[in-house]
């Protein structure tokens, strides 16, 4: 799988993280090889910082390149 296709995940379980993750919201994934080895995803959450969450909180999604580009542009424009 090419690197550019693993940048986003949809939250499907925000239990214990109700202030940090919003159900059904799309989050950006930051590559983290050590975390991935422990089934963790590094996610930029509602705090605006990146944290390691267990993968079971999310479904990793692949979007067409133009959609990913639009999502990244939208996130970088967020204050």
């Amino acid at each position: 799988m090419s690197e550019h296709k693993r940048h986003f995940a949809i939250c499907v379980d925000n239990s214990d993280y109700e202030a940090s993750l919003i159900l059904r919201k799309i989050y950006e994934i930051i590559p983290d090889e050590r975390g991935a080895g422990d089934d963790l995803l590094r996610i930029v959450d509602e705090s605006g910082e990146d944290y390691l969450y267990h993968k079971s909180h999310f479904i990793v999604v692949e979007f067409p390149a133009e959609v990913e580009h639009a999502l990244r542009s939208a996130q970088s424009a967020t204050p």
Binding site: E18, A19, D38, D39, G48, Y51, L52, Y53
Partner: protein, 77 residues
């Protein structure tokens, strides 16, 4: 949370408080109004795959509400 904290969290520091917490409004909406602080500390945790890691944790805390959203920031070893 999916991991278990195995020992007492050490080196606890306040990293933000009150309005300096970026997501304060959402925090109060979710858990209620309070004197919210964001803290960090270090602890050993057992992950769902059984691995034990020494990590930096971040969480929110308010009197009468307790610790919320305990998150792993990074591995420390």
């Amino acid at each position: 949370m999916r991991f278990e904290i195995l020992d007492q969290v050490e080196g606890i520091e306040v990293i933000a408080a009150g309005t300096s917490i970026r997501d304060l409004a959402y925090l109060e909406k979710t858990y209620g109004a309070g004197r919210w602080r964001k803290l960090k500390g270090r602890a050993h945790v057992r992950l769902p795959n059984g691995n034990i890691r020494w990590v930096e944790l971040h969480w929110y805390e308010a009197h009468g509400i307790g610790r919320k959203d305990i998150k792993i920031k990074r591995y420390l070893e």
